[in-house]
């Protein structure tokens, strides 16, 4: 995942790499994602979330739909 100053530079990057524009998230959402995903990574309790847990984590910050579904076959 890359960082951009604005949606305009995202579009320029997508055009340059011939990659369709995909979801954007703001820094508050990104921080919440980082805390939930990695907050206990250095502890023995840390484990990789199961697919349904991943979807719940994404949904908790407003990220829903097949793009955020680790079991989706929409892009195969």
């Amino acid at each position: 995942m890359l960082l951009f100053r604005s949606e305009e530079t995202v579009d320029l990057w997508c055009d340059a790499h011939k990659i369709p524009r995909r979801p954007l998230i703001n820094l508050d959402q990104l921080w919440q994602l980082a805390v939930t995903w990695y907050g206990n990574r250095l502890t023995i309790e840390s484990r990789r979330p199961a697919p349904d847990e991943m979807m719940s984590i994404f949904a908790s910050i407003g990220l829903t739909g097949p793009f955020w579904d680790p079991k989706s076959d929409q892009w195969k």
């Binding site: 995942m1 890359l2 960082l3 951009f4 100053r5 604005s6 949606e7 530079t9 995202v10 320029l12 990057w13 997508c14 340059a16 990659i19 524009r21 995909r22 979801p23 954007l24 998230i25 703001n26 820094l27 508050d28 990104l30 921080w31 994602l33 980082a34 805390v35 995903w37 990695y38 907050g39 206990n40 990574r41 250095l42 023995i44 840390s46 990789r48 991943m54 994404f58 097949p66 793009f67 955020w68 579904d69 680790p70 079991k71 989706s72 076959d73 929409q74 892009w75 195969k76």
Partner: protein, 150 residues
């Protein structure tokens, strides 16, 4: 593939040594820090990779490319925290290092297209507000098809 206590032990040592030094350790450094052989550690790397918990360096099973959120190689997302310079795999992981340590942090990043410097900062458990955005190019179902690109 089994995921046993040896793997958990090695995973914790990887993260402890990385947090202490700023650098992701090699299999030899982990073996030295434990009562395990270098071969045991490399075998654990492979199992942890199969369980999507770390990524060994391609063509060098003694090194780790990714122990998320940490990177074993230089990236565009260094993280300055605790007086050290860590390396993150992506912008999500840059915040992830600040969350995992946990620590205040400064991330001297840049725009993914223009390379204009963009500084991220975490202070007292919160990000300093900026109008920047993160772009996820790969759907979640395909993150591990090529996790380095993702």
């Amino acid at each position: 593939m089994p995921f046993d206590d040896v793997d958990t032990k090695i995973k914790l040592v990887v993260y402890r040594l990385t947090a202490e030094s700023g650098s992701v350790p090699t299999s030899a450094e982990i073996a030295q820090a434990t009562d395990l052989s270098d071969a045991d550690v490399r075998a654990a790397f492979a199992r942890l990779h199969a369980n999507r918990l770390l990524v060994p360096e391609p063509n060098d099973p003694s090194r780790i490319r990714m122990a998320p959120p940490f990177s074993g190689i230089p990236t565009a997302f260094p993280v300055e925290a605790r007086g050290k310079r860590y390396l993150a795999n992506c912008v999500w992981d840059a915040y992830g290092i600040a969350a995992a340590l946990p620590s205040d942090a400064i991330v001297p990043a840049s725009d993914g297209h223009t390379r204009e410097p963009l500084i991220l900062e975490v202070k007292s458990g919160k990000p300093i507000s900026q109008p920047y955005v993160a772009h996820f190019a790969v759907p979640a179902a395909h993150w591990w098809d090529d996790i380095v690109f993702t």
